[in-house]
């Protein structure tokens, strides 16, 4: 085990390596020997070949989520999809109303798009989920107003992995005639998405979270009932005017291939990741003062967010340099903030400062997990030996009762 290749990559929620099969496919659309034409060129076979490849990819995206290829709009990634969905729908339907509902644990792409709309005169309600990370549907219903035009709730949370009940929220939104947007960057290709069943109007996707290339994504825009958007990028009128710009054939083909493979291998990937997740959790959960963030049942197993109380996250990352993981921590005064997601689910500052997100993927092995358990256990022990808070805890002192001079 000592001569394993380190650091071990356990940050699949941040991005994934491109699957070799995807990279090979992409390469067919780049050089002189390949199909490098502009898919919008109608006058020659270079264009036709590229256009055909784009159509096939569009179908792969639609097939994974049980949608129609005509409902797929290419974008540069989930960030752009979120922006197009939220700003595009808000702008189009602003005469109907100016109230939007979203959740505090959403990705920044959603939250900051909403902030921008606030500056433009929209009103946004940022809901707090329950302490398990799940949105309370009764509370959501209570927030709906006459002038609510849009609800945006993500599928799988990128930091804690919890899954929102998209089917039920969709029913609610549809019954009130409100547009429903879902950021599915972390769920597509990992858990089932069936847009025949889910009453979702707009859904954001990204390729690089599912073994495709970075810089390409898509937005699903429902046709029946039809959802309208105001374009955010203007130009040559590509993508039926919704998103201008020459289509990046190789990126699109990469995303298509990644989604095609995901459809075929989703169940296999899921089972494997679940096993590895269980191995990881069983390996660390018996340490003292270890907390899983987010509900244990309603979650995608590939994302684990664990707080090791009385140990600060940035030093924990330093002590675990053999594994590539992420932390929401590092003290506030240093511009790095404790995870806003953990704060939103009501975790104390200490627990929010003590968290590690470990995300598992297609290429993770049992050896990776075993080394992770060993590394994390040692690091936590080492840092607790250094921690005055741990010492106080062990002495039975309640640190929440102490008056700290916050700075």
């Amino acid at each position: 085990m000592k001569d394993m290749k380190t650091p071990i990559y356990l940050d699949y929620a941040s991005t994934t390596p491109i699957d070799k099969r995807v990279a090979d496919k992409m390469f067919e659309f780049m050089t002189m020997d390949g199909k490098y034409g502009n898919p919008a060129s109608r006058s020659h076979s270079f264009g036709w070949d590229a256009d055909e490849a784009v159509s096939i990819s569009r179908k792969h995206i639609a097939d994974l989520i049980n949608a129609d290829p005509r409902e797929i709009v290419w974008t540069s990634g989930a960030t752009e999809s979120d922006n197009l969905a939220i700003k595009g729908a808000a702008h189009f339907y602003k005469k109907k109303g100016k109230h939007i509902i979203t959740v505090k644990t959403e990705h920044k792409a959603v939250l900051d798009a909403c902030r921008q709309l606030e500056r433009e005169g929209f009103e946004v309600t940022y809901m707090e989920p329950m302490s398990d990370g799940i949105l309370d549907l009764e509370k959501l219903e209570a927030e709906i107003r006459e002038d609510t035009v849009l609800i945006s709730v993500m599928h799988v949370n990128n930091e804690i992995g919890v899954i929102q009940d998209i089917e039920k929220i969709g029913e609610l939104a549809r019954s009130k005639n409100i547009i429903f947007h879902v950021d599915a960057a972390q769920s597509a290709g990992k858990i089932d998405i069936d847009l025949e069943k889910m009453k979702v109007d707009l859904m954001s996707f990204s390729a690089h979270k599912i073994y495709g290339p970075k810089g390409i994504g898509a937005l699903y825009v429902r046709r029946k009932p039809r959802v309208r958007l105001e374009a955010q990028i203007h130009g040559g009128g590509h993508e039926r005017g919704l998103r201008s710009g020459t289509l990046p054939t190789h990126q699109i083909v990469g995303m298509g291939e990644a989604f095609r493979i995901a459809k075929e291998e989703m169940n296999k990937d899921y089972e494997k990741i679940l096993q590895l997740r269980n191995r990881l959790w069983n390996g660390v959960k018996d340490m003292e003062e270890v907390y899983l963030n987010g509900d244990f049942e309603n979650r995608y197993p590939g994302i684990m967010n664990i707080s090791f109380n009385y140990v600060e996250g940035e030093s924990l990352i330093m002590a675990t340099k053999d594994i590539a993981v992420s932390s929401g921590s590092a003290c506030t005064s240093a511009s790095l903030e404790p995870s806003f997601v953990l704060r939103a689910i009501g975790r104390s500052d200490e627990l929010a400062h003590s968290s590690l997100r470990m995300s598992i993927g297609r290429f993770t092995t049992e050896e990776d997990i075993d080394l992770t358990i060993e590394t994390v256990t040692k690091a936590v022990e080492k840092l607790r030996a250094l921690s005055p808070l741990w010492e106080m805890y062990k002495d039975g002192i309640d640190i929440s009762k102490i008056e700290w001079a916050a700075h």
Binding site: S315, S329, A330, P388
Partner: protein, 132 residues
């Protein structure tokens, strides 16, 4: 975040980790920072009859730079008089460890910790004088 060699060295092999008896009147304890901010530093000094710091211990909850700053500080104060220890500036710590700008406050915390420890020592020993 990339760390300098000296930070890594103190972080990997922290000097003088531990706890002195805070009820001992020759011991001054400084505890600064707050869990909510992600940093808590405890620094203790043991002062002999001549007013010289003969032992120093720390425990720190915080980032690598905070751990390194407090570790370095315990090395520096040993053998110094209480007055000399009070003179240590955060900028000297930051310079020695080559801390980047976002980590300067970690060294400020260390300066606060030694000041607090010295004050605690003074307080203990003055009240002692008064009651005597």
């Amino acid at each position: 975040m990339a760390y300098g060699k000296k930070v890594l060295d103190h972080y990997e092999n922290p000097r003088n980790v531990g706890t002195l008896d805070k009820d001992d009147k020759s011991v001054g304890t400084g505890m600064v920072g707050a869990p909510a901010c992600g940093d808590v530093m405890k620094l203790q000094i043991k002062v002999n009859e001549e007013g010289v710091i003969e032992d120093a211990k720390f425990k720190t909850y915080g980032c690598g730079s905070a751990i390194a700053s407090s570790s370095l500080l315990t090395e520096w104060v040993r053998g110094k008089t209480v007055e000399q220890a009070q003179e240590i500036k955060n900028s000297e710590i930051a310079e020695e460890l080559a801390l980047p700008p976002v980590k300067i406050h970690c060294s400020v915390l260390a300066e606060d910790a030694i000041k607090a420890a010295v004050n605690d020592y003074y307080e203990k020993n003055e009240t002692k004088k008064e009651t005597a």
